[in-house]
């Protein structure tokens, strides 16, 4: 970094832009500069107080549910390098010399600027109550604050949050998540006084109290009391009562951080905030801009939300690039968020402050739902508040300012309770803003489909940026894209394939509830009319075969997949219980649970490989793959393996593959649990479980994570208190770190939770949808899965556990079963009319002391092999 070389950063020929503050808005500003090419013509220097680059402060609380600091980061790994931006972390600006046009940072670094941008954000307001500096008092703003709270919470049992606004409730959620008895103290008569009205506040309060949080409204903290050691013991409230608590989090609002600006004589507002004009420039100094929460916009307001901050960042970047800009003259402060699992939204004139405003209210205290719309005398929708069910937000907010096509009461009634037709985003005008974060209108989204030929939601997201901010509009976006596709003649068919109009999850339910264990019957009763007399297809056959195999013991089917009709449903790999390779030969993978193997068994594998001349390779899953077997050799190879105690490794199936492990506590000086024993137990429990796609797992014996469990569909990491369970990880082309589902589980709890998780995945995933894609796709994502499998919100858990118990009970080794039955063995011939003849086209040549396929034998009029993409939809896309 430049700072290391010289205390005064050198001036260059290029103009220099200095950004003070690298929060969400600061990062957005840098991106906006890069998009406009300014980073190529100017030198850009960033001074950042925090020790890490910009991260998603809005999602801060998710840090406690397992999201790491890295995952919260908003900065692409090579962003700074790619654009030549100099980022100084942990080095806050301390003084600005406007006459000399320099900024000096804490380290002594002085940088000259041509343009200065302040994005210093805000600081948490701590009310001046006595005792506020006691040990155990915190604010809730940065990752460092969270780390300190987490550490302190380990040794205490009760916490109180001062402030019942948005951030206060976030903080309360974090405390309950840490296992503390939690109080919220709000001075106003209701929770979230800025966003919601009394009715909404009451609904919110009931739901939050049901979660065990104690809410005190209409009172303030008068004094924090501390013990002799200086640690918090409680809080005296303004009504004379007392609250015993071990820690206090202040979350009573934020104030603009404008001290730097004050010190150098820039104009600030009466209640704080750096005064700026519509281009976000300070009126007193044309070289200085201020954006985000530290700025006092030209409408006289300080905006504490991220969307207006982003708009200011874009405005300032456009002004610096000397491009036309509409300017920033004010913003919509509509919000939708999930607080402690409760949907809360407010938009427009939520409090009915406009003259002649009338309310339309729907309130169901039992369900914790409160909805209010504010309408003008002429029927214009002015705003509203939604608590407990904010489903309609995506549609209502864009309608604000217009007269909705249906009456307001129909807009608040729940579906099925009198609302005649669900009013979708199709009813919105083209200029309605669908994505508030990126200011994308319905017209732009329609254009992405009609003019830019986008045919899927991810394509539209990429093309328009819509839905890539807070994500609250994705539902409306999806429905719009589908409407538009349909209107342009593209049929959006969610059916599995040309034979079935149902999704895989729907077919699973049909098989399960009707106990329909026959593909032919399923096709005849549930297939598309035009497909009922046909032979099915290669997409639905294995999918249905897999569903029947998953449910076999519960629907009266045989778990052995190669008898009767089921045999005809299996892909060639399952059909021969081995993996087809490019020259028509197969590979063999015996199960090696947890990667643990005795020397004797290792020798048997070596002898088999040697005797059959197989190419031998260690796999990534701690097993051994033996390549180059002909169909007719498979039973001979397996009879030797089964005799030595091996069983099928299911490398050929959409099924559990392997559970990797590190060596664990038994040998490793860092290990805290026996990871090998756990891995073996898990692998033996779930072996043979057929699922929508392959399943991989791993167990690490400590937080060093040598088994790479977070790259797996379900990964287990040992802690000193038990086991943490992570789900939805993936390696490969689209890597994803697994999310923490639950922590510090006992042995039995861990297994019960994995049972439920896997069975819920098998029940609801699409064909060839890995857990990572499934977790991202399903409504509610990880939170929903946690609700279902941890909190049993759907009452399914008993059934999921019973299904898994049946699977475990009925498991048999497929290869042993096959070898014991001459009829089953009959298929393992290369030629039906010459059972003893080996396939002459399967030949090998030597390479590095082993064999490789001799492809010259396959030559002839071979066509150039193209990727399937050009011919058929890729594996993994269910659309056809």
């Amino acid at each position: 970094m430049a700072a290391a070389a010289s205390p005064t950063s050198a001036r260059t020929d290029r103009p220099t832009i200095v950004l003070i503050g690298h929060g969400m808005v600061g990062q957005r500003f840098l991106e906006a500069l890069a998009e406009r090419g300014v980073t190529e013509t100017s030198r850009v220097v960033v001074l950042c107080e925090e020790p890490r680059p910009a991260y998603d402060r809005v999602q801060l609380t998710s840090y406690f549910s397992g999201r790491s600091a890295e995952e919260l980061s908003l900065v692409e790994r090579d962003f700074m390098d790619r654009h030549g931006i100099e980022l100084h972390l942990g080095d806050p600006a301390e003084t600005i010399d406007r006459a000399a046009r320099t900024v000096t940072a804490r380290s002594g670094l002085t940088v000259g600027y041509d343009t200065l941008v302040l994005a210093t954000g805000s600081y948490p307001f701590v009310p001046p109550v006595p005792g506020k500096d006691s040990t155990g008092c915190f604010v809730y703003r940065t990752i460092e604050d969270l780390l300190a709270i987490e550490e302190y919470a380990k040794n205490v049992t009760t916490g109180a949050v001062v402030g019942g606004g948005l951030l206060g409730l976030e903080a309360a959620g974090a405390l309950t998540g840490l296992g503390l008895r939690t109080h919220v103290v709000e001075f106003a008569p209701r929770l979230m006084p800025v966003q919601v009205d009394d009715g909404g506040g009451a609904a919110l309060r009931r739901t939050i109290e049901d979660m065990g949080v104690t809410v005190h409204t209409g009172v303030g903290g008068k004094e924090i009391t501390a013990g002799e050691d200086g640690a918090v013991t409680g809080m005296e409230l303004s009504d004379g009562s007392r609250l015993d608590t071990d820690m206090v989090i202040f979350s009573a609002g934020v104030r603009p951080r404008d001290q730097l600006a004050r010190d150098c004589g820039l104009e600030v507002g009466e209640r704080g905030g750096i005064v700026v004009d519509a281009t976000c420039r300070t009126p007193g100094d044309t070289a200085v801009y201020a954006i985000g929460e530290c700025a006092l916009a030209c409408d006289g307001r300080v905006y504490g939300l991220v969307a207006p901050g982003y708009e200011m960042a874009d405005t300032a970047a456009a002004a610096i690039a000397e491009q036309d800009t509409d300017g920033f003259t004010g913003a919509d402060t509509s919000t939708k968020l999930k607080l402690l699992g409760v949907d809360v939204a407010s938009f427009g004139d939520a409090h009915g402050a406009s003259e002649g405003a009338l309310d339309v209210v729907y309130c169901d205290s039992r369900a914790g739902v409160y909805k209010k719309l504010v309408v003008g005398a002429d029927g214009t929708l002015l705003g509203g508040v939604l608590v407990g069910d904010a489903e309609a937000y995506g549609m209502l907010r864009p309608l604000t300012g217009s007269v909705p096509p249906v009456s307001p009461e129909q807009l608040v009634l729940p579906a099925g309770a009198g609302a005649p037709v669900a009013l979708g985003p199709s009813a919105l005008p083209d200029d309605a803003v669908i994505c508030n974060c990126h200011n994308v209108t319905k017209g732009t989204i329609r254009g992405a489909v009609t003019e830019h030929s986008c045919t899927t939601v991810p394509e539209v997201k990429k093309c328009t940026k819509a839905g890539t901010g807070c994500g609250s509009c994705v539902k409306a976006l999806t429905s719009l894209v589908n409407d538009e596709l349909e209107a342009s003649g593209v049929i959006v068919d969610k059916g599995l394939c040309g034979c079935f109009p149902h999704t895989r999850a729907e077919l699973y339910e049909v098989v399960r509830t009707l106990r329909l264990a026959s593909y032919e019957e399923l096709l005849a009763s549930h297939g598309r009319p035009e497909a009922r007399d046909g032979d099915g297809c290669e997409i639905c056959k294995p999918a249905v075969g897999s569903i029947i195999a998953s449910l076999a013991p519960s629907v009266g089917a045989d778990g052995y997949i190669l008898d009767g009709e089921q045999a005809a449903l299996q892909d060639t790999n399952d059909h021969f219980l081995a993996n087809l390779q490019r020259n028509g030969s197969y590979s063999v993978v015996p199960r090696i649970p947890g990667g643990e193997i005795t020397p004797e068994k290792l020798i048997v594998i070596g002898e088999v490989a040697r005797d059959f001349g197989l190419y031998t390779k260690i796999t990534g899953g701690q097993r051994i793959d033996l390549f180059g077997a002909r169909v007719d050799q498979l039973p001979l190879i397996w009879s030797r393996l089964v005799d030595a105690g091996f069983e099928s490794g299911h490398a050929y199936g959409k099924a559990l593959r392997t559970v990797k492990s590190c060596v664990g506590q038994t040998w490793c000086r860092y290990g805290v649990q026996d990871s090998v024993r756990m891995a073996i137990q898990l692998e033996l429990r779930y072996r043979g479980l057929r699922s929508p796609h392959k399943l991989k797992s791993a167990v690490s014996g400590c937080a060093r994570e040598c088994a790479e469990a977070r790259g797996k569909d379900f990964g287990v990491i040992a802690t000193s208190n038990g086991w943490n369970l992570y789900v939805g990880g993936n390696g490969g082309a689209d890597p994803r770190h697994a999310d923490l589902l639950a922590q510090d589980l006992s042995h039995a709890e861990l297994i019960r939770l994995i049972d439920r998780f896997l069975m819920f995945y098998i029940r609801t995933a699409d064909r060839l949808e890995r857990t990572s894609a499934w977790l991202e796709r399903i409504d509610g994502g990880l939170d929903h899965v946690r609700d279902v499998v941890v909190h049993d919100s759907l009452g399914l858990c008993d059934e999921l556990e019973a299904l898994m118990a049946a699977h475990v009970h009925h498991y048999r080794d497929e290869w042993a079963e096959t070898l014991n039955d001459p009829e089953r063995l009959a298929r393992f011939v290369s030629f039906v009319n010459a059972p003893e003849a080996p396939d002459p086209s399967v030949r090998f040549t030597p390479e590095r002391d082993q064999i490789k396929p001799d492809l010259t034998l396959l030559a002839g009029p071979t066509l150039p092999v193209r990727t399937l993409e050009s011919v058929r939809p890729l594996e993994g896309t269910s659309a056809r």
């Binding site: 060639t572 396959l858 066509l863 399937l868």
Partner: protein
């Protein structure tokens, strides 16, 4: 006959397994060749047959009991694997999907459904005898 490994004894062994099931025959270069009994074929699943000239055929039946035979060689990869693909019906045409890269071939005329410029040979099939 060239280098075919299909000896008459092996053929007889395979075809006499179930005497009461009709025999399936393929029309090869040297006339009708008995391949196996019909009960060795299950709808939706193929088997491979070695022809006297050393080439390979893939033999299938559909749900209605009709038998089809096409070349076993997948023209996209050169591997002799079409008999191990999954069958299906697309707009009334019976097909097999290659187990390697999944291109589909019409069982009746050998045409590739995903690339009409490509096709595989077809063979006439008949069933004879049986109880």
């Amino acid at each position: 006959m060239t280098t075919a490994t299909a000896t008459p004894t092996a053929t007889e062994a395979a075809t006499t397994a179930a005497a009461d099931s009709p025999t399936v025959e393929i029309l090869g270069p040297d006339g009708w060749l008995p391949v196996c009994t019909l009960d060795r074929l299950s709808p939706g699943r193929g088997v491979a047959a070695l022809l006297p000239d050393g080439t390979q055929a893939a033999l299938f039946t559909d749900r209605a009991g009709r038998a089809y035979a096409i070349g076993n060689r997948d023209p996209f990869t050169g591997a002799q694997v079409l008999s191990r693909g999954l069958t299906g019906t697309a707009t009334g045409r019976p097909y097999v999907a290659s187990p390697l890269l999944k291109q589909r071939f019409d069982l009746a005329n050998g045409e590739c459904l995903d690339d009409p410029s490509v096709s595989v040979p077809t063979y006439s099939v008949r069933t004879r005898g049986g109880a």
